[in-house]
Symmetry: C2
Subunit: 160 residues, 2 copies
């Protein structure tokens, strides 16, 4: 976390209520089945016909697939935080399934900023990220505790 | 959720304090980089040399990769729940990084059982799953709300 990244935002530059929005990603049946085969091999993620007889009533992406896509979108275009996106943990929910053909984007909001007491070079930003489909439905809500770098001292004025 | 699965456990057969343990999975550098390239393309997940200068002080798996492996282990060998493993949401934390060469397994415990009031065929089991490496370190704690099927009426005795 010692390298400066001029185009990135430090903890000191964040404020509660600040919002970020990512680009979109279109998920298809091939992606859903490939992720499921590797990490979540259950009928409702692997087989459209079998999925109709399950709680999902049709093929749906693994919630962890939606989480992984959300991470990709936030890393590449959603949250330009200094030091990268490092999650300490959080709360996650999937209020609606992700379906083949869905176009997902992420809307995030900073809800809390907590400088570290013991480590002066970093702090925690609590960020709520909503993953939203093309119908405006929220398919995932993630309230994440992210470790964000503070502005290096050499970038501050000497009397700070 | 209408099909019966004789070798699977229904909500009615679970009890608080019940424990389950999964088989192990060995994660290597190839897997870590492949997941990161697709879903979490950051230096500390992609490049061992670059990772030494980051908070992780060496290559580490994406937390979402650890979550995905945990799901695979629980689906295949950890939690034999009727209707499959369907998460409504939960809390997740990564107290230690997952490293190349780690052998991970999952130890789970049922902490709460909540029959649905509106849907008599299902309920929620709250399950804490700890993902543990070969040194006994917990690399992930997941407290998940899982939708579990109730025992179909036709399997009960007529006077129940």
């Amino acid at each position: 976390m010692s390298n400066t990244q001029p185009d990135r935002i430090y903890l000191d530059e964040l404020h509660v209520g600040q919002r970020f929005s990512s680009r979109s990603h279109v998920i298809d049946e091939v992606q859903i089945k490939a992720f499921a085969a590797q990490f979540d091999p259950q009928p409702f993620h692997l087989d459209a016909a079998a999925a109709t007889h399950t709680l999902f009533k049709g093929l749906a992406a693994s919630g962890w697939h939606t989480a992984a896509i959300t991470m990709r979108l936030n890393v590449e275009s959603g949250l330009p935080f200094a030091g990268g996106l490092i999650g300490a943990g959080g709360e996650i929910g999937w209020p609606a399934p992700t379906r083949p053909g869905d176009s997902l984007h992420v809307e995030s909001e900073v809800v809390e900023i907590i400088p570290s007491r013991s480590k002066p070079d970093r702090g925690i930003a609590v960020v709520v990220s909503r993953t939203i489909n093309q119908h405006g439905e929220v398919v995932q809500i993630l309230k994440a505790k992210l470790v964000v770098a503070r502005k290096p001292v050499e970038e501050m004025t000497p009397w700070n």
